[in-house]
Subunit: 125 residues, 2 copies
DNA sequence: TATACCAGTATACTTTAGTATAGTAGTTAC
DNA sequence: GTAACTACTATACTAAAGTATACTGGTATA
């Protein structure tokens, strides 16, 4: 089979490709604020100021920068409306919405892991 | 229902808890080298030098630091063997092995996302 | 005319993450 | 005795990420 993965099942057998694909995903969501932003946008379209209010302690500089990153990576779509004054709406792309699958298993693993660590400490067999 | 999540399904309904659990997961795997280390250990126990050889360009300083982090977070178990000279083995804990579920969906999403972006560029409908 | 909202940008700074390079203590092989 | 292996640690540095603070240009409201 070697390492010429073309099918998902095969990729998963191949260490280097596996790590590469995961790193791809990691790069897209790297940084302190990308997940909060995606999390917020999962609940629907938002405007810049709405996101700023939604996400505690984020500065407009970081919000602007992270939104640009997410837009470049086709996770978020930016739409400017010809209203007065202009309003700008951010929403998830298909890929962005599909990322919820990743978040779901992250939540699951996170919770299970916490339980694991807790039961180790309390000695609960 | 408010925000007093006790069941997974309920947590997923609650934005702030959702984000918190995901951040937990992110913190555990943050950094440039944790995923390569976990990826390598998914293929079985490894000694320090084996990991160092396995993971291209990692320095012993970073490997040591990241292994300590992973150990503290109960992702990796460190065992010292009374051989001469001493050998030290690193292996994944149950939690660590269960993390493969997360990696799997990351690989899946990463590949799908790449296809998405590609088909956008080439204009394939 | 002053204040406030929107969607950001600019500049300077601090903090964190990662790298480079060398060295430790113990053991074995030549 | 010197070179090499194991499992690291120490020191000093660079680079990347994030923060703080202020400001822009346009519009609307009191």
């Amino acid at each position: 089979m070697a390492c010429d993965a073309t099918v998902l099942a095969e990729v998963k057998m191949c260490s280097s490709n596996y790590v590469m694909a995961v790193n791809d995903t990691m790069n897209v969501i790297s940084g302190k604020w990308k997940l909060p932003i995606i999390g917020s946008l999962l609940y629907g379209k938002k405007r810049f100021k709405e996101l700023e209010r939604d996400i505690a302690k984020i500065t407009p500089r970081m919000l602007s920068k992270e939104l640009k990153d997410l837009e470049m990576n086709s996770i978020v779509k930016r739409t400017v409306h010809n209203t007065i004054p202009v309003t700008v709406e951010y929403e998830l792309t298909d890929s962005g919405r599909r990322f919820k699958n990743v978040l779901d298993v992250m939540v699951e693993w996170g919770l299970e892991h916490r339980q694991d660590v807790m039961s180790e400490i309390t000695g609960g067999k």
